[in-house]
Amino acid sequence: MEGMLLLIAILLPAAGALMLTLMPWLNERREDRCLFVGAILVMECVVVALVALDGQRTLVLFKMTEQLPIALRSDGTSRIFSAVMALMWTVSGFFSFSYMKHEQNEKSYYAFYLMTLASLMALTLSGTMVTMYLFFELMTFISVPMVLHTRTKEAVAAGIKYLIYSVAGATMGLMGIFILTPNISSAYFVEGGSLLAGSLTISKDAFLVVIFITLVGFGTKAGMFPMHGWLPTAHPVAPAPASAVLSGVITKAGVLCIFRMVFYVIGADFIRGTWVQWALLGCATVTVFMGSMLALREKVLKKRLAYSSVSQVSYVLCGLYMLDTMALDGALLQLVFHALTKDALFLCAGAIIFKTGITRVEEMHGLGRRMPWTMWMFAVCAISLVGIPPLGGFIAKWYIAEGALSTGAPVFSWLVPIVLLISAILTAAYLLPPSVSAFFGGMADGEAVSALPKAEPSLMMLVPIFILSLAILLLGIFPNFMIESFTRLANALM
């Protein structure tokens, strides 16, 4: 049956989670469980690759009512997003096999981990707005337990905050879906949008307000200003791998929804040049700036990284909202590279906590000598995130800035590059000093840092980080195949 593969991509991790919960023998030994989860994750990667190679497919699962089909679809966008997400998820999964040794309740952690993957896959493969909304909500609920994992008071409070913000955002999105539905020609996603701009049921001004609210709503998951409040609270309390995927991957789910709404439902042309575009760009740039500032002020490493995510994901949104082919290219590149980079950074942070218990930035003096591999990779990722050539981050930012300049949009065509630049400087300011002091710090005041034992994590943790760093490096040097395919997609959408 055509498109069965799509269903398998979703059902595989879900079934894995189910088996993990229901079959006690899988949980008798840690090794068995890790093997099982690992196998599922690898298989999932394979399936996602197959889906990506299979070409465009649509699968209607069922129809809630005649106008409400629940359908899956694989196309350019879903391919990019699902590949990035599956990869991130697998890598973080392998990392967590050793990391989770010192957290409790591993079984339920892995179950939810796989469930979240299933819902993410479903989200990327959604073929209609309602399907997207469905899996968007589902993903929220399934990922809540990951935030709540430690069951401390802070974790519970953060989990609730995360839940409320997400539901609020989803509700705003739902309003858009409600109002859009009578105004579009197809319930399914259509490249370039299917808005019946000529015969709107309400005035265009009101309609723009609705679109604005919708996109802000979906922006919640992406941590976009003004709905960003949950992000710095939720991430630090989650276990490191969970935090890694939360900020590296789940924020991108928000981006995906915005992507779908803008390019597959509303259509870029409708928004281009309206106040909505400027307002959203404004929000995105504010978020870029604000996230960086917050990260700079934050001393706890994981929280700093989480704030950094707020900033970096908004780069993607900046590129997206420019509504320009080149900027969109940049946005997609930034999406990929930020996912890789931030994932790697979080894993490094996790490794540091796991091995030394260090959580704060100022404690990282001399750490480079205790765990050189880790810190080297940390430094590489930091450089990429700042945007220094030849690493991936640079290309992405370059495209966004160039795209912005080429649009000739008032104010933003020069404001965005400037904010990007400032933010890059800020990023450098909050990420490079820790790297530097890790290697060079502590030497001057003669502390016997070198006397401390080596703390290099096991290969199980190191290899995933290494793969990610390598990917950043290689993709940064040879980005052309990615740029080509992204350009193709961007052209199709605009």
Binding site: F62, K63, M64, T65, E66, Q67, L68, I70, V130, T131, Y133, L134, E137, L138, F141, V144, P145, L148, R151, V156, G159, I160, L163, I164, V167, A168, T171, M172, L174, M175, F178, I179, T181, P182, T201, I202
Partner: protein, 486 residues
Amino acid sequence: MEGLTLLAAIALPIAAGALLPVVRWKGRAARDAYILCLTILTTVLATVAIFGNFPRLSLIQFNDRLSFALKLDGIGRLFAGLIALLWPLTTLYALGYMRGTQKEISFFAFFLMSYGISLGIAMSANLVTLYIFYEMLSLSTLPLVMQKGDSGSIRAGLKYLYYSLGGAAFAFIGLVYLVYFGGTTNFVPGGLFRGVAVEHTAQLRLGYLLCFLGFSVKAAVFPVHGWLPTASVAPTPVTALLHAVAVVKSGVFAILRVTYFSFGALVIRASYAQYIPLALTCFTIVFGCSMALKEKHLKRRLAYSTVSNLSYILFGALLLTGQGLAAGLLHLVFHALMKITLFLIAGVYNDRAGIHEVGELHGIGRDWPVLSAAFALGSLAMTGIPPFIGFISKWALAQAAVLSGGLLPYLGLTALLVSALLTGIYLLVPSTFIFIGRRPGNAPGTKPVETEIRISLAALTALMLAAGFFSRPLVDFITRAASGLV
């Protein structure tokens, strides 16, 4: 006299209920069997009545203009079907739940009677008959609310009664308007004044408004919603079935009848008679949710949620479009399924685990994983997460609002969304705690749950979930029933 089936479906449970305290029962088993059999028999009769096409049955001619007559049409079938479906399940639950409590016999006697009377509301062929059953329902459910017999429940019962009868008194004025200007109270699709030159539109609108305000008491529209949360002192089967389905929806049903079958959309449309009720329902949607959020008591929280959801239905219906009515009717059915499940599970928490406040739910999911999962599913459905039923009806409502356009529909749409958000908070947050929290050490232990309760809850949950995937026939039926009324 083919239509006697209609009468039988109404009269049988009433007679059976009246007989219950009179007969000396040898054992509990015999009595339980009697109650269950008669409930099921009534359901069978009701099903025959719903699927058969029986002619109008005119029983009593009060005077020249008023008669007591029965007839089932589209929306009547829907309501009757809903009641006939849920009543046996709830009775089964109640048999387990009420076992060994005081005044068990009188409880089931009135419970059976209420069944017949609710069916009567669905089968009424004119407004007077509806009004009669409506009043009877207030009275027959009164002892059920006061079942506990302590001063709190009596106060709640009296409050319920005063509200209901006060509302009925205003509805009565509307009835008088109808009799005077329309000459009859028969339900005619599209209203009595369709195609007739209407000279008295202004008065009719006033009459409609009064009618609406009167019946809206049962439908718990702000500002006359106060009785509903208070009435949640009643035993759970009553709160679940009557105060989430039969009684409150009879208020909604009466408003639907008055709107589409008596006064007619034509008279009301685009006048204050439409706008005031619409504005009230919009406000109630948000108000109910906010109160639910504030409320710590689990059953009262659910009751406030009902307040909000009833106004969803009315909001849809008052848009006065075919889609709006269909959406409202859909929500009428779906909300019943969701809310009754939630209430019944809350009842188990309440009675078998001593949980009254939302805060005490923590960790109960460890003791009762399946039950709590059902509760969580119900919460998801109430919030309106696809693919559960709550989403389908909310979707339909929202579409109807968007399509009808204008300020108030959009206001309602916003209310709908705010309410979805608040529902998410007040139901999903506790649902989360059910699973992740820990039960305090001093919490009372859980008591075993009777098989009857398990069966009925399983059936209801299955029904609720299945309805999400197989709603097509229902939607088609409702669309057909709603077409031609506007």
